[in-house]
């Protein structure tokens, strides 16, 4: 009836629609900004920091690879680096055995439908709810040589000879911390492995039974191959976590890796370099710290990527 206004409103609608279509590109912007500014930028910046000389947190001259050279050739830095590196490896190995190994066995038991499996799941998972600092402090009290519950229990059951200053002795301090970490993480592992087990088709077990497979060969031939994705996840997560180990060590032994650097991890050493307290003093070494961060970063990424690729290939082959 009114062609003029009609075409006008069509133009207006089109404009509006174009505007609406354009606004969609605003949707990912907030996430990109926050993520870019607080995650991506700092990691890139850490890389550039490692090429400079630092006075406190003020940047000095460009020094090329000097920080890296110092980190690996200058004492005490290189000695402390390899000392801490070894501890991280031990961290990873012990966690793989005591946390993930045990978690797999427990998940298998729950999967076999024991009574009270809900209770078991909740029990294993409970420690995971605590803050790592609470875990560290709680165990510090339990492991206290004089009043701690562990030594008291050992005495009560007649094993006095095993009593120890668990965290004061360089031979047991690191291992104690790692086992506490296993205590904290085991429930998560159980749930991951349980989810993996539950995704195995039941028919496979029945077919296995018909072929006369017993429990152990069933595990070897059916369960383990199909659990590869779960093992992969847990290995990568444990690897990253072991090489980033900081909070629990800090809570239990502070930033000096006491006693005698026997609990030093790379992240603790990094913290000392970056925020003071390295070599006993309060001077910071941001350049060296950044170099260490870069080395650690490359190490973690390289092995994670390598492992993921290798496992993916293996899975395809099977």
């Amino acid at each position: 009836m009114k062609p003029a206004t009609n075409s006008n409103s069509v133009v207006k609608m089109k404009k509006e629609r174009n505007w609406k279509r354009w606004t969609i590109h605003l949707f990912p912007i907030p996430a990109l900004l926050i993520y870019g500014l607080f995650i991506v930028y700092p990691l890139f910046a850490a890389l550039t920091y490692s090429f400079f000389d630092w006075k406190g947190i003020v940047r000095g001259e460009f020094v090329g690879l000097k920080n890296f050279k110092d980190l690996f050739t200058l004492e005490p830095f290189s000695g402390l680096f390899w000392n801490a590196f070894g501890h991280n490896i031990l961290y990873f190995v012990l966690q793989m055995i005591f946390q993930n190994g045990l978690a797999f066995i427990l998940a298998y038991i729950i999967y076999k439908k024991v009574k009270g499996s809900e209770f078991l799941k909740i029990a294993y998972f409970l420690p995971r709810l605590l803050s790592v600092i609470v875990v560290g402090f709680l165990w510090k009290l339990i492991l206290n040589p004089n009043y701690g519950a562990l030594n008291v229990i050992l005495e009560k059951i007649g094993l006095e000879q095993l009593q120890k200053a668990w965290l004061g002795d360089p031979d047991t301090a690191l291992i104690s911390i790692i086992l506490v970490n296993c205590w904290y993480g085991i429930g998560f592992g159980v749930l991951i492995f349980l989810a993996g087990l539950q995704s195995i088709p039941k028919e496979l077990f029945e077919a296995g039974k018909l072929d006369g497979a017993d429990g152990l060969s069933m595990i070897r031939k059916i369960v383990l191959p199909l659990m590869v994705p779960s093992f992969m996840i847990m290995t990568v997560l444990t690897f990253i976590q072991s090489f980033e180990a900081f909070e629990l060590v800090y809570a239990m032994q502070g930033s000096q890796g006491e006693p005698y650097h026997s609990t030093d991890t790379l992240a603790i050493y990094f913290y000392r370099l970056a925020f003071g307290g390295s070599a006993g003093g309060s001077t910071t070494a941001v350049g060296l710290g950044s170099a260490l961060a870069v080395v650690l970063f490359l190490f973690i990424s390289f092995f994670t990527a390598l492992y993921l690729r290798y496992m993916q290939k293996k899975q395809v082959d099977m």
Partner: protein, 274 residues
């Protein structure tokens, strides 16, 4: 069949033994929090003689626990809200549109799950200083949002992709804009996924102590985990109060867990499995 007869009891003993190792320290923590220090030192394993709350009263006099608590609540709640908003906007964009750069954006976010952000703490410290955010709760909020975004986007994008598009298209024909579609049509159907994200991120931001350790020195700006650090630093001899502090710090999470244990366990593992 024969060997199940002897493996069964072994299974039980083993599984329940480990379960008691998991629970006992937590139980010990709660029970000890009702004992005086003298009682803990003389009989560390026995039940408390009386359930008196003196240790808690002492604790509240020693440290500004209520302030820590309010700070923790503020930081966690705001972080979780911001994560939900930013991540659902981004995930909606990634899952529902097919712009050429969508896969790149998705990969860019996913990369964040593997990035060890703690190694960037020196630049972060300088950044927060430049932004005037040291000793501000917002420094923590920004960190928890930034570290929470990758996993949240992964979970939400996965969920978006499984949802049928018909309702959205109907709303679009009715003239609804993208924001309206997301808010009125899509998000109400996403409740399970949003719940998962909420639980994971709430635990993370409630329990973290790394970032406040670096960014917060003002006692009145501390969250509960770093508050524990000052408690143990200053009052290390009063074990009753120490146990009370640890118990109070953990109680909110434990209570929430018992209200929704299934969602907690599913939530925390879901991120890893996907």
């Amino acid at each position: 069949m024969n060997h199940t007869i002897w493996t069964r009891p072994f299974y039980y003993v083993f599984a329940f033994l480990i379960a008691s190792i998991s629970i006992y320290p937590i139980l010990l923590m709660i029970l000890s929090s009702f004992k005086t220090s003298a009682e803990i030192f003389t009989s560390p394993l026995s039940l408390p003689k009386t359930f008196n709350l003196d240790t808690y009263r002492n604790l509240l006099e020693m440290i500004p626990f209520t302030t820590y608590f309010m700070n923790s609540v503020f930081v966690s709640v705001v972080s979780v809200l911001l994560i939900l908003i930013t991540s659902s906007l981004a995930a909606f964009y990634i899952a529902r549109f097919t712009f050429v750069w969508n896969n790149i954006i998705f990969f860019f976010f996913l990369m964040g799950m593997m990035l060890p952000i703690k190694l960037g703490i020196v630049p972060l410290f300088i950044l927060m200083k430049d932004l005037n955010l040291l000793n501000s709760l917002w420094s923590l909020i920004f960190m928890y949002v930034a570290t929470g975004i990758p996993l949240s986007i992964l979970i939400l994008t996965g969920f978006f992709r499984t949802m049928p598009r018909e309702l959205e298209e109907a709303a679009r024909i009715d003239g609804a804009g993208n924001l309206r579609i997301l808010w009125n049509v899509v998000l109400p159907l996403m409740r399970p996924a949003l719940g998962t994200v909420m639980i994971i991120q709430f635990i993370q931001s409630w329990n973290d102590f790394f970032f406040p350790l670096i960014f917060i020195t003002d006692d009145l700006k501390k969250t509960i985990p770093v508050g524990m650090l000052s408690l143990f630093g200053e009052y290390s001899a009063d074990w009753g109060a120490l146990f009370a502090g640890l118990t109070l710090a953990s109680l909110p999470m434990i209570v929430l867990f018992f209200i929704a244990s299934k969602q907690f366990m599913e939530g925390l593992t879901q991120g890893a499995i996907k």
